[in-house]
Amino acid sequence: MDLTTVWFLIVGVLLIGYFVLDGFDFGVGISLPFLGKDDTDRRVLINTIGPVWDLNETWLIVAGASLFAAFPEWYATMFSGFYLALLLILVALIFRGVSFEYRHQNKGQKWTRWFDQFIFWGSVLPPVLWGVAFANLVQGVPIRPMDGGGWIYEGTLLTLLNPYGLLGGICMLLLVFNHGLVFVSLKTIGDIRDRAQALAKKVGIATIVVGAAFLVWTIIMRLESESLLLIVICAAVAAVALIGAWIANAVRREGWAFAGNAVAIAFALLAIFMALFPNLMHSSLDPAYSMSIEGAASSQKTLELMTWVAVFTLPLVLAYQAWTYWIFRKRLSREMIPAAAH
């Protein structure tokens, strides 16, 4: 396998890491108005992700930087092309990030309500917009090569808001919402755990239906693709994992349900990457204009260097992050929120 393909996979792994990990804390943020009946509930919910949301979000930063280093053309074309969508994501992430730190710094209903709103919208917008963006990459966007090298995006924000793109956005939103609900039932005890589980049953059904529609549409769109078989396999694994997760949740095997959702998100993204391969962006103007992995990649030297860095650091990163999850493995309950916090 050549290094460009290796880096396509490494960037894939980083993005999967981001959507699986930050995915569940987005889901917890989205669940805030649904599961948080009072302030204590909301504190329990936010504390389930307290120690880990920051390191989960780091996966995005590292994925972004790796994209910059390994596929500068992709980084440059996508982020200048999807300008306003990315701006919205950034603003959402800013508000969400500071809210976790600032919410509890001041007493007073109004203050806390504001930050609850920021956490909710900050958790809804990014998955929707990322979903829209990724779906559009698969479907094809109006890009063309420029004279001096590189590609240019010729659409607008509205170009991205087509039926398939929007379905991708809703699909991603439901996936992370479902993922977050299962995480809450895995991490809490008492009434809130039951309510999370019950809601996950309902949201799970919707996720399965929308997810299936999205994956089938993706397959139909890429019937001509060389990697059709791989796309179908990945989509099938995602579907089975999602259904398995729903059943596990229904019989209250929360650990299995959470793992099932993680696998579903990972394989849904893999299906998307396979549908992209061997391109990074399909051009809707002319297939010949598409941005290939080769064409977007850095020099061999940079890719080699980055491969060494990734080989040495990623296992270490996974180890110390797993350790963090182990340290904070205990379930939370209302009783653990000290009275002084009110």
């Binding site: 120690p51 590292v62 390994a70 440059a76 092309g81 300008y83 001096g148």
Partner: protein, 486 residues
């Protein structure tokens, strides 16, 4: 109207704004995390509760600030792609590598251990918990190194070659990129400046309480610790600043000429440093100035009889070098001007040095007058409180000098800034993001400062039980207790 909606101008404003704003929080993160780590170490070694209380107080201020550093950092990373896509595709091969290394090596590390530090007070054994704050500091510092190495490539590009066929710069030697002399002197310079900022914030908080006669014992400790920190850090800033100045003169002679508004070559006594100067609006003619002979030569070369090149001489050299030949399109600015905006470089250079020295002077005087435990007049404490933001301002004008002094190039001698901007991003989109970031950043600044003031004024926390020893007297950490509740 076209003037207002010029994507280049707007993108430059946005970059300047978001970068300087990011740089308010990052130095405090770097500086305070070190000071907090030291305080916590002293607590672990001596067992004196005083140090634990101080650790908690300054730890809280550090955390409020940390959140802002993170979220504004995400913007930094993505705006290269959004606003400077030509630049990104041209240098991504080299510039992206340190950024990605920063993420993989340092940022993951920092983000993980900060979580363990915040939430691990009662879950980790005392010494392991102490390690997490040191790891956080190491993470922030290593992270700063990679970012500064990326920036140093823009100031003094090294370890690359131009691939004409692909139309981009490609990596030749990562060792040269990471050991860029600019990075090597800029890194300690920046870190020491950050530590100074941490120190003055500590002094200010302590002074606020001492003025009110609260927590006198603890706050005296904090005040003197902060003041000593400043003095030691300033020595570091000064020494590394001098090295940086000489390296910079080598790499970017125009920047040093612009820092002094020196129009013609000068040497020996003529290569003087002006403390203050009044001139015509374009800076080309001087009306009045206060000068120290030989000093500019010393700042630039390390000797008193060296020579320094002037703006006019460099302008004609650069025109010959960069405005003829095959690469002209990327290296020759459209107006043919190679000098940055002189009044900005001139004054930011002076303010950077002056503010840093002022903060240190205050600390030194403060140490002298607080050496004995006696009553002090109110104004002493007021001065100490108002010193808090001075190193921050020095850092901000210092960065303005560094980045504005690089103009008209985005990568010195390789690509002009105007060539780096995103094609195809309309001016109104950049204007939208400029307005949005200005409003969001402005609003958050108010919130952040209010929260820091509140935390600082709240004073020392009550310690109900010693962390890492549980509340039940068994000596075991109590995993049921939440250290932090959102």
């Amino acid at each position: 109207m076209n003037e207002i909606l010029d994507p280049l101008v707007l993108a430059r404003w946005q970059f300047g704004l978001t970068t300087l704003y990011h740089f308010i929080f990052v130095p405090l993160t770097i500086g305070l995390s070190l000071l907090v780590a030291i305080l916590q170490t002293v607590w672990v070694r001596t067992g004196k509760v005083k140090y634990l209380k101080l650790t908690k107080l300054f730890g809280k201020i550090f955390l409020i600030n940390f959140a802002m550093g993170i979220v504004t950092g995400i913007v930094q990373e993505f705006q290269f792609g959004m606003n400077w896509s030509n630049y990104s595709r041209f240098v991504g091969d080299i510039f992206g590598a340190p950024l990605a290394m920063e993420g993989l090596i340092a940022f993951f590390f920092e983000a993980t251990f900060i979580g363990l530090w915040i939430f691990g007070w009662d879950k980790l054994p005392k010494r392991l918990h102490l390690m997490t704050i040191w790891f956080t500091w190491i993470g922030t510092t290593v992270s700063a190194y990679f970012i500064l190495a990326a920036n140093a490539f823009m100031q003094n590009p090294q370890g690359f070659e131009i691939n004409a066929e692909k139309g981009r710069a490609e990596l030749l030697d990562i060792g040269a990129v990471l050991t860029n002399p600019i990075a090597l002197s800029q890194f300690p310079h920046t870190i020491f400046a950050a530590i100074m900022f941490g120190g003055t914030v500590m002094v200010a908080v302590a002074a606020w309480h001492l003025k009110r006669n609260q927590y006198v014992d603890e706050m005296r400790t904090a005040l003197r610790f902060g003041a000593w920190t400043n003095i030691v850090a300033f020595l570091g800033v000064g020494l590394t600043g001098h090295t940086l100045g000489m390296t910079m003169t080598q790499a970017q002679p125009m920047k040093m000429a612009a820092a002094e508004a020196l129009y013609n070559n000068a040497s020996g006594a003529d290569a003087s440093f002006s403390l203050f100067s009044l001139g015509t609006p374009d800076g080309a003619h001087e009306i009045f100035s206060v000068r120290i002979p030989y000093l500019l030569s010393f700042l630039s070369n390390g000797t008193f009889d060296g020579s320094v090149e002037g703006i006019r001489n460099l302008q004609s050299d650069y025109t010959a070098m960069y405005c003829s030949g095959p690469d002209t399109l990327l290296t020759c600015p459209s107006d043919g001007q190679f000098a940055p905006v002189i009044w900005i470089t001139y004054w930011t250079f002076r303010w950077m040095i002056g503010l840093g020295a002022l903060a240190t002077l205050v600390s030194a005087v403060g140490l002298w007058i607080t050496r004995k435990n006696k009553e002090l007049p109110n104004w002493v404490w007021k001065v100490a409180i108002w010193t808090a933001p001075i190193p921050m301002l020095a850092s901000l004008v210092g960065w303005t000098f560094t980045e504005m002094g690089r103009q008209p190039w985005i990568v010195f001698g390789v690509m002009t800034t105007e060539q780096g901007v995103s094609p195809g991003v309309p001016g109104w989109a950049v204007l939208t993001s400029l307005i949005v970031f200005t409003l969001v950043y402005g609003g958050l600044a108010v919130v952040e400062f209010k929260l820091i003031f509140k935390a600082a004024k709240a004073g020392l926390p009550e310690i109900e039980h010693l962390p890492g020893e549980g509340g039940d007297g068994t000596g075991e950490p109590d995993p049921q207790k939440l250290a932090t509740v959102y």
